[in-house]
Amino acid sequence: MSRIAERFASLRDQDERALVVFLSAGDPDLETTDALVVAMAEAGADVIEIGIPFSDPTADGPTIQRSSERGLASGASLRRVLEGVRRVRDRIEAPIVLMGYANPFYAMGGRRFASSAAEVGVDGVIVPDLPPEEGASFFEQLQHEGIDDILLAAPTTTRERMKSLAEATRGFLYYVSLTGVTSARSGLAEGIREGVELAREFTELPVCVGFGISTPEHAREVGAYADGVVVGSAIVDRIEAATTPDEAVDSVALYVAEMKAALRS
């Protein structure tokens, strides 16, 4: 069983929902990224998503754009992120997922990336601009190495397409809660529950909801019907607001603990 599957199975046993957390690698620097990953896992995060900074992050709002720029400035290339995963892998139990735009993966080469990622202990990969039609061969290379390719579904996804996405995804299905880019928002979008229920018709795998989730109230509400929530911009906001790396680690850990508490029933 993959590390992601194991984690969701144990959450199910304890009747808990998953907290999936996101940060951009190298924001503010790679050393702090290591510390943040470990601190988030210790504070109760169930899945750690590490963002690969990209020059043109079209699916992201201003918060993660700025974070991605800081990551690029501190030299967080895909290669260096893999080195970072190697450093933290044995220090935490939570599965580690890399999230990044297609070009850096392709520039490294799908096969080469997949084998390096498997070797350092990456558990899953999310590529927001790589729908399954285009990603077929890359996803096969990942699966060959035992890495889950986690697909996204959106509010505009048709029923027919939802079926194929839900059947093809590995690890879990990432349901994008709204039409838009990543960003912390005050209110939740409408129709999330219907989207999650539609996905459930076609898969037994967990369905996690992301985009626009930032408060314990959001988490509790979505956790009532989804298997987990993904939080990104709200974490990055705290990293950005901190004046020192230690302060960033403390503030993020506090927030993660608070969010996780809302997902325990």
């Binding site: 992201d60 070009n103 392709y106 520039a107 601009d129 729908p131 285009e134 579904a153 048709t158």
Partner: protein
């Protein structure tokens, strides 16, 4: 349109929108449904008689088509001076005479009509120097559509006059403050708007790029350049040209003039890329000549990217060629050897800008000046009885002030 089998050239993409290994749809899941909707519209609405009739009427009575094909007599004679046995005859396809001063209007009239037919009341666009933005604002004013144009903050500053033009035409201009604050970032921001307002917004892309079906949609609206040129050159010369030359940034004027000739083996197709300060300087926009395969702005194509897969900004004296990617069909035509891609640098373009002004009484856009620069060289190498058709994609009025500053002219 029939699929060409000649020389194995593919003149239409496969069902996934790929020309060979280039093209496709690399977009977030949210946009997949919108692209399906657009694809359906391009297959059902665009070929319909009613749509064609409306577009043809606008192209002739509003945009001023057909544009003339002018024989560049003095330029031709100049090319024969050194060696009178050589020097091809040069014809200019005068897109500079179309409304708004460039070929951009062909595409935006088509897409704005399509937006309207699809029931989308809001149109968004990206712009670099402002040419596509002004053209889109024009078409939206004409058809009564709301228009929002994304433009990098750096470009807003450099092209203040075009910002005012767009506002005069009723568009809202949004200055983009992220990344390099130029065209590629304006596209990023337009894509973010589209993903947010996808249900009621039409994204009017300005070149033969983006995810499928945009590269084909834009090309088909620009094909009118090549279709007219083909007919016009045959009318005066009784035969097809030996070469067709056009500048390539994203590549829409080039694809528009190339496409009707793609199946004619005897017609050499030459795209001229911006060499900027020189391809080896790192400051250029020669994506085909010096780029690598990559995934950028929704398609797989040739891009300017570092070893880590990060896209780096292009550079050219002409803002309209300043893009670190290129239309996937160009990447394909290059890969199969059907078209050649060469480079003209900033200095050569600047010379050609002045040359055409003095020799033919036509001030070309700096973009088009790249095509003129290469044509001068090419004509001298070709025989006297050979013919070159050059796409004069736009007029240079917009560049006069910048060139004046570079040359330090009076005034």
């Amino acid at each position: 349109m029939a699929q060409s089998v000649r020389k194995g050239v593919r003149s239409e993409p496969d069902e996934r929108g790929c020309f060979g290994e280039f093209g496709g749809r690399y977009v977030s899941e949210t946009l997949v449904a919108a692209l399906d909707e657009l694809l359906e519209a391009t297959e059902k609405i665009v070929p319909s008689e009613a749509f064609r009739a409306q577009l043809d009427e606008l192209l002739s009575s509003y945009a001023g088509r057909p544009t003339p094909l002018s024989y560049a007599e003095r330029m031709t004679e100049d090319g024969r001076r050194a060696d009178p046995s050589r020097g091809a005859k040069v014809y200019l396809k005068r897109e500079d005479l179309a409304h708004t001063g460039a070929h951009k209007i062909n595409n935006v009239l088509g897409q704005a009509l399509l937006a309207k037919a699809m029931g989308k009341g809001r149109v968004i666009a990206e712009t670099g120097a402002g040419q596509h933005g002004c053209a889109t604002a024009t078409a939206c004013a004409l058809l009564g559509l709301d228009c929002v144009v994304y433009m990098g903050e750096e470009d807003v500053r450099r092209q203040a006059l075009n910002v005012f033009r767009m506002e005069l035409l009723g568009a809202q201009v949004v200055a983009v403050k992220s990344g390099s604050r130029t065209l590629k970032d304006a596209i990023n921001e337009a894509m973010r708007d589209w993903v947010t307002n996808v249900r009621d917004t039409y994204y009017c892309i300005g070149s033969v790029m983006g995810p499928h079906p945009y590269p084909v949609l834009v090309r088909n609206f620009q094909r009118v350049i090549g279709l007219e040129a083909r007919e016009q050159v045959q009318a005066v010369e009784g035969r097809l040209p030996d070469a067709v030359v056009a500048c390539v940034g994203g590549g829409s004027n080039a694809m528009g003039i190339f496409h009707p000739f793609v199946e004619d083996d005897g017609v050499r197709l030459v795209g001229v890329e911006p060499g900027g300060e020189g391809v080896h300087s790192g400051r250029h926009g020669a994506t085909i000549s010096a780029g690598v395969p990559g995934i950028f702005h929704g398609k797989r194509t040739l891009v300017l990217s570092d070893d880590d897969g990060q896209i780096f900004p292009a550079h050219s004296i002409s803002a309209g060629l300043d893009y670190p990617g290129v239309g996937p069909e160009h990447a394909y035509l290059r890969a199969i050897g059907r078209a050649d891609y060469v480079v003209a640098d900033d200095g050569e373009a600047l010379d050609a800008f002045q040359y055409l002004s003095k020799t033919e009484g036509i001030i070309p856009a700096l973009e088009s000046a790249h095509a003129i620069a290469y044509t001068r060289k090419l004509a001298r190498e070709m025989g006297r009885d050979e013919i070159i058709v050059v796409s004069l994609s736009g007029r240079g009025d917009k560049d006069v002030d910048e060139v004046r500053q570079i040359l330090g002219g009076s005034g």
